[in-house]
Symmetry: C2
Subunit: 250 residues, 2 copies
């Protein structure tokens, strides 16, 4: 294996995997090649190999999809999965108490990555799903994660253009700094319509072994004239339970 | 990219990913090379590239682990994840009703692959975790999946040596055939100590669009002298709810 060829192949594998998303869960080879920006013969060879090792699957209609074996491998030894295992029982309890969408997110790269989501069967909210990413400044989960990130990281995020998702999204850096200071002081954020019109997110931090924030726990519900105080107590109880599990001696 | 080099690189990537498991969630490069059966320089080059694209991560102590981005990519467009999304609300309801470990598994390759697991915070059962696999003939989930698989597939499984995990594991092919017929007739299996001494699993099928069995829903609890009838009604209710969600027109 020459170094250059090895390098470019890993990047091609990544491009193939990145061609799939919620709206494109399976596709014919030609679509996959197009979305990955690769020639069809190259894509064909890669797909054949990746199917052989279970990284991709061929559906009965010959369309190509992500392999279940890849999901299995990715779930092994993943900090997200360990965190999620610890959090899930408490998220179940919280959802039973508040009957709203409950999510768990971590800071990854420049966004909040959702590790887990429990939703009432009848929810109409199509957001915060597993493996979905949200903007840090425009989601309750993201604001908690950003508030407890390093000053350097915050400066970096705030120095970039901040996208406005709704007319309530806070995009002014100074206003955002005050909001983040408030989140650090009060240990929660109440984000009414910041990311999606008509939906409110409330998020609290989950602490790890060194009292660092490892995740944010949030609930999301249709905006209404009501203070989140009662839900907030339940959320803090659940977050404390998760933190205790994470910091327990094994 | 020559065909041979491409092929062998994908196989090496897979070997690197397969070196990780629950007991080995992160490891130094030399251990990884050893577990993957690859030379250290090759492993070093692969790891460097895979870290660059987020397929692997380097922990603060330099140990190597599975990347969160790989988990994210693998979760996109995965039949397991879609099924799990549909099932989770009903699993939460079921767990609230029965207060036992609740799992969801699918048939993959020659085993039952666990997609989801909800456990009471205080459970002592260390099995059936997400992305874990169990033997088909020695787990309640596996027996349901095997019972509803094709005759050809069943013959193949039953023609191989059947491992005995406990003194209650059914390993006689004829006895197993009768058990599977019983599962098909009654739509549930009661597996007391088949996979793990002292633990009982009860599993029911989850049906998809074409009335095919797409998953098994199970509860697992410490064996006791009590019929599973009351839990079974709750399990069937939850399984029917999942099936209805899966078969609902979108």
């Amino acid at each position: 294996m020459s170094r250059t060829e090895g390098e470019s192949l890993i990047s091609r594998v990544t491009r193939v995997l990145e061609a799939f998303d919620r709206d494109n869960e399976s596709m014919p080879l030609s679509t996959l090649a197009h979305r990955a920006g690769l020639p069809i013969p190259t894509t064909y060879r890669l797909v054949t190999e990746m199917v052989k090792y279970g990284l991709l699957d061929r559906a009965p209609d010959k369309d190509i999809k992500i392999g279940l074996h890849l999901w299995e491998l990715a779930s092994h030894g993943n900090r997200g999965v360990g965190l999620r295992d610890a959090a899930l029982p408490f998220m179940v309890d919280l959802q039973s108490a508040v009957h709203e969408v409950v999510t768990l997110a971590v800071l990854d790269g420049q966004s909040a990555l959702f590790l887990e989501r429990l939703a009432p069967a009848q929810t109409t909210l199509e957001a915060g799903r597993i493996a979905e990413r949200h903007l840090l400044h425009a989601s309750s989960s993201g604001l908690v994660l950003l508030a407890f990130a390093s000053q350097e990281y915050q400066n970096e995020v705030l120095s970039r253009p901040l996208e406005r998702l709704t007319d309530k999204t806070v995009t002014n850096p100074d206003q955002l700094r005050r909001l983040l200071a408030d989140v650090r002081r009060r240990h929660f954020v109440y984000a009414d319509g910041y990311g999606r019109p008509g939906w409110t997110g409330v998020a609290v931090p989950v602490f790890g072994r060194k009292h660092e924030v490892v995740a944010s726990l949030s609930i999301v519900y249709r905006s209404r004239d009501e203070s989140p105080q009662s839900q907030l107590a339940a959320m803090r109880t659940a977050a404390a339970g998760i933190s205790r599990t994470l910091t327990a001696p094994y």
